[in-house]
Symmetry: C2
Amino acid sequence: MAAVCELFAMSSRYPATVQMSLDELARRGGRTADHRDGWGIAYFEGSDVRLLREAEAASDSALVRFIQDHPPASELVVSHIRKATQGDRRLANCQPFSRELGGRVHVFAHNGNLDRPRLEAAAPLGDHRPVGDTDSEYAFCALLERLRPLWLGGAGAPPLAERLAALAAFAALLRPLGPANFLYADGDALFVHGHRRTQPDGAIRPPGLHVLARACARPGATLRTEGLAVHGGERAHQEVVLVASIPLTDEVGWNALAEGELIAVQGGRVATRIVPEP
Amino acid sequence: MAAVCELFAMSSRYPATVQMSLDELARRGGRTADHRDGWGIAYFEGSDVRLLREAEAASDSALVRFIQDHPPASELVVSHIRKATQGDRRLANCQPFSRELGGRVHVFAHNGNLDRPRLEAAAPLGDHRPVGDTDSEYAFCALLERLRPLWLGGAGAPPLAERLAALAAFAALLRPLGPANFLYADGDALFVHGHRRTQPDGAIRPPGLHVLARACARPGATLRTEGLAVHGGERAHQEVVLVASIPLTDEVGWNALAEGELIAVQGGRVATRIVPEP
C-alpha cells in the first residue's frame, strides 16, 4: 500500500492559508486507486465552519482546483481523504462531519475501521443521529452525546481540561474497536488522537498520526515543505501546528504520536497532551 | 428600493441544475447596494446537503462564478441573498442555516426582521443553539425544537400532515413579530411561507413570495426565463417548482402567496397548502 495522507489539520495563532496541501490532497487522493471515494475540508471562521466535501476523487475535482486558486484564510483547518470501508460513495459518507453544539460548529474526521456492533453497544446515541452510514459519523454522534452536558451546561467553551478528559475517555472506548485515529475540533481547540494505521509493510500498528510545530517571528513567512505551503499572513510571531497521517516531508520536526496519545492544540500551539498508561 | 430577490428555491421530480439563477443572485446581490452582506445556496443530495455560503456580495464572489460554471445537480435547492438587519457581516450570519435532526440535514432561510425579545419569549430554544446572532437563525433553532418530537419519535420522515401542522403553528407565532417569509426544507419536502415584504413603493405588505410550477414532458428540456435556466436533465416528465421573492420574469404562471399562506412542495409538485382564516 502506498503512503497516503488520509487526515490533515492546521492550527495557527493568526489566520493562515493552506495552499499546497490541497495539491497534495488531490495528488494523493487520485494517484492511489484505493482512496478515490471522496474528500472534505473544513475551514473554521470563528464559531462557524466553511465545509466543502465531495463524493469523488480529489484529483478529478474542479472544486479542489478552485480552492487551490482561492484558499480561504483560517486559524483552524481539518481535512480528510476517503477510502470507503463502511458506507456507499455519497456525500453523506464524506468527512469531515459537522454538527452544532452549544452554539458552535464541531467537526470530526476519523481514519480507521471500527467494529460497528460493538461501537453501538459501547457508545449509545442521543439526539444527534448519523446522516450517512459510516462508523466514523456514528462515533462522532456518540462523542457529541458525551460532550453535550459540558457544552449545554453554561455559557462559552467548557474548561479545556474537562473537554480533554471527555475525549480521552471516548478515545479509550474506541481503541479496542479498531484503528481510531481522529481529528476533532470545537472551534476553540483541535484534539488529535493517534492510534494505529496500515503501514507501508501492510501491518496495522502505530503511529497513526504525526505532528509538526513551527513558529515564524517575521511577518509574511511561508511554512513551505514538499507538497505543502502554509502562508502565515502579515502578522509577526505567527505559530502553526500541522497534523498529518504521515510526515509530509523528510525534514526534522515531525513527531509521531504514541499509541493512544491525545493532544489538544490551540492557536498554533500544542496546549496539552495525554499518553495512556502502558 | 429596487426589486430584490432575497429568497429562491427549486424543487424537481428528477435532479436538475439551476444555472442562471446564480447569475441572477450575483446581479441582484451586488447591483443594489443594500444587499451586499452575504449569500448562500444549499443543494440537497439525498438526506445530506452541500451548503455554500459567504459573507460577501455575490457579485464579487469567485465562488459564485465557479458555481455558474459547475452547477450541482439536485432535486432541492434553497438560496438566500443577505441584507444585514440583525447581526454582523460574517459567515455565521449568512443563510441558509443548516442542522441535523432525525438523521437528515434540515435547511432554513428567512426574509424579514423579527422582534427579537418577543421571539425569544414566544419560542424557547431546546438543545439547538444559534451560532450567529440573527433573528432568522434563532427562529430556525426554535422551529427545530418544535419539530424534534416528530423526527425523533420513529424511523423515517413523519407524515407530511403532521409536519405541515407544526409549521403552520410556528408561522402563526412568527407573523405578529415582523415579516416572516421563509423557506424550510427537510430533504423530503420544501415548506414555503409567504407573508409581507417591502414593496417597490416602500410599503410593507403581501405578497412576500411567488411560486411557479412547470411540467416538461420531453427529456432534455430547459425551463428558461429571464436571468434563470433550470436544466431538467435527460429524464422525461420532469416537473419543477420555483419559489422566489419576486416573479423572476413577466410570464404568466407566477402565483403570489397570500398573507400567511403555507405550501408544501415535494418532487416538483405543490403537494398541499394552508391559507389561514382571515
